[in-house]
């Protein structure tokens, strides 16, 4: 709690990101607003009081070492993991009462797509329309157009009739992204979209995201390191040991920052607006102490 508070002060977020209650009253509601979020999974406290607000049109990377709770954070924001303390809202509504799910496109972290029965690429991508479809209504031309566009965006049009099982890992990841694209949501939540993906697929993802950002969509992505996505990301939320260790412009060297035991010294002096924060220990995190 204390660390996250300090980090917000230091990175200037305290001024620009008011608490969720205030945020809801001003302008459009935040896409995600978590206050004091705590999550306990199998007796282990994974999130220990996280405050995060993400506004429409933002491109946010959730960074952190393995096991830091970054994946749990985004899944909690979506209501997939129950909170043990604090509260979280989706477009101003608690996830349990949220109804406008077509606004959300979720790309889970999966090693492979599909279950025990083969599915074609088109079938999986088309299932991304589900939040926009009504029971007993057949698919419309709009559905098919959106699916075709999504397939084209990830370069899998010629594989549409193939079984997803026959694709490579990077291609399967593209199928998952296309499924989210097909739903034409306002907000994308991607869990490690670059993990275990070949360089070509990573560049393709970066291009796709560039288009989405230009269209004003909100993008939240979990990453171990940013790679080719670095140029797109304006804001990084660094999670460490279940707390927000940094919230602001992406740290210059994400990989090194994310490593535990990294002894950080500000090379550019104390500049709270854009400087990353050391989250190694309490005193080091205070203004002035690190530089």
């Amino acid at each position: 709690m204390q660390l996250s508070f300090i980090s917000r002060v230091v990175s200037g977020q305290a001024d620009t990101a008011p608490p969720a209650g205030v945020a809801a009253a001003s302008l459009a509601p935040a896409v995600f607003a978590m206050t004091g979020g705590q999550v306990t999974l199998e007796g282990r406290q994974v999130l220990r009081g996280v405050d995060v607000t993400i506004r429409p049109g933002e491109v946010v990377a959730v960074l952190g070492p393995n096991g830091s709770g970054k994946s749990t954070l985004v899944r909690t924001l979506l209501g997939l993991v129950p909170l043990s303390g604090g509260r979280t809202e989706l477009y101003g509504t608690p996830p349990a009462r949220f109804r406008e799910w077509w606004r959300i496109g979720y790309v889970p972290q999966r090693l492979s797509v599909g279950g025990g029965v083969p599915s074609t690429v088109r079938e999986v991508v088309a299932s991304g329309r589900i939040a926009r479809q009504r029971r007993l209504r057949p698919s419309t031309a709009a559905d098919r157009d959106a699916v075709n566009r999504a397939l084209e965006a990830v370069g899998l049009t010629d594989r549409a009739g193939d079984s997803v099982h026959s694709l490579s890992g990077g291609q399967q990841q593209r199928v998952l992204i296309a499924r989210a694209l097909a739903g034409e949501p306002d907000t994308f939540v991607m869990d490690e979209p670059t993990a275990g993906v070949d360089a070509g697929s990573q560049r393709l993802l970066a291009d796709t995201l560039t288009t989405l950002v230009a269209e004003g969509r909100t993008v939240v992505l979990v990453a171990h390191e940013l790679g080719p996505l670095e140029a797109l990301v304006r804001r990084a939320v660094v999670i460490r040991d279940g707390l927000v260790a940094h919230d602001g412009p992406p740290p210059a060297a994400v990989g090194a920052h994310a490593l535990p035991g990294h002894d950080h010294v500000h090379p550019h002096g104390f500049t709270p607006e854009c400087g990353p924060l050391s989250w190694e220990s309490g005193p080091a995190g205070q203004p002035g102490a690190a530089s």
Partner: protein, 298 residues
């Protein structure tokens, strides 16, 4: 002879192909009812089975089958129609299995195993306590007794089939998303718990439908084997579902017809025919895939 089926006045088997028994068969009302029951089961079981296999719950049907035996025995004990008590207990069992699964992975499989053993043991015990039940009746439910399908049974089987296929048609799109990825289903706003229970209940209904034809111990085979056979030949989910239903009907109707000529249990003949279908489609599928990779990489 609860689970044997012979033509009413069968000719002595000969090596020469003789078509008269087919007409004799079709005229016998026992055989007519049996064929209709077989056809309905052949359609139903693989349709539900495709979703269950997709969800990696291939043995769910087995579990429900075990539990359903207690339901059958309850019917004998209380003098109610066994099919009805089996429906009630199978549905309750399916809901229990789903709730155990939902609670988390740890210890879930052991809890399920306990439920299965309880179902079988409970069934055997209750049959023993009832005055009408005997080992022969028990056998007829464990291994099927399609020749004893009554007109009333046929109505129940027909209604259950309509319910099962209706659920697949109405909820198919949502069930596909659920069986593919439960978290994505949740993040798409689908009623995940309702759909999970729906699929468990549908499986329970199917088990009871198929019980009379292949028996509780082989029910699961009809839900899984045609799907396994179908997916050797297809690349998509919908195609697998449809081909599995074709395989299912061929196996049930074919197996039943075979037992009209050769004196074996229909359930076993049906399942072995389905397995033979799987072996053939495995071979064909492998050949097709091999020639395809050769074409694409010259």
């Amino acid at each position: 002879m609860p689970f044997r089926l012979r033509p009413a006045a069968g000719p002595t088997p000969s090596t020469r192909l003789d078509v008269t028994p087919v007409f004799d068969l079709l005229q016998s009302s026992i055989m007519q009812r049996a064929l209709i029951a077989a056809l309905l089961v052949g359609l139903c079981a693989p349709a539900v089975g495709t979703f269950i296999v997709q969800r990696r719950l291939a043995l769910l049907g087995d579990g429900i089958g075990h539990v359903a035996l207690t339901g059958v025995a309850l019917g004998f004990l209380t003098g109610t129609a066994p099919v009805l008590t089996a429906v009630v207990v199978a549905v309750l069992g399916a809901v229990a299995i789903e709730l155990v699964r939902e609670r988390g992975r740890t210890g879930g499989d052991v809890a399920l195993a306990l439920l299965f053993y309880g179902g079988i043991a409970g069934g055997v015990l209750l049959i023993g306590l009832s005055e009408t039940g005997s080992n022969a009746t028990l056998m007829s439910y464990l291994f099927g007794s399609i020749s004893s399908v009554t007109q009333e049974d046929l109505w129940v089987i027909g209604a259950l089939t309509v319910a099962v296929l209706g659920i697949v048609v109405v909820f198919g799109r949502e069930l596909f998303v659920l069986c593919q990825d439960e978290e994505v289903a949740k993040a798409s706003g689908l009623p995940v718990r309702f759909l999970s229970l729906l699929i468990a209940v549908t499986a329970a209904l199917t088990v009871v439908v198929a019980m009379r034809v292949v028996g509780l111990l082989l029910v699961s085979a009809l839900m899984v084997v045609p799907v396994a056979a179908g997916q050797q030949l297809t690349r998509g989910f919908r195609a697998t579902l449809l081909i599995a239903m074709v395989f299912g009907v061929v196996a049930t109707v074919g197996g039943l017809t075979y037992t009209a000529y050769v004196d074996v249990a229909p359930g076993a003949a049906i399942v072995l025919l389905a397995l033979a279908g799987f072996a053939v489609s495995l071979g064909v599928g492998t050949l097709v895939r091999r020639s395809r990779t050769r074409e694409s990489s010259p």
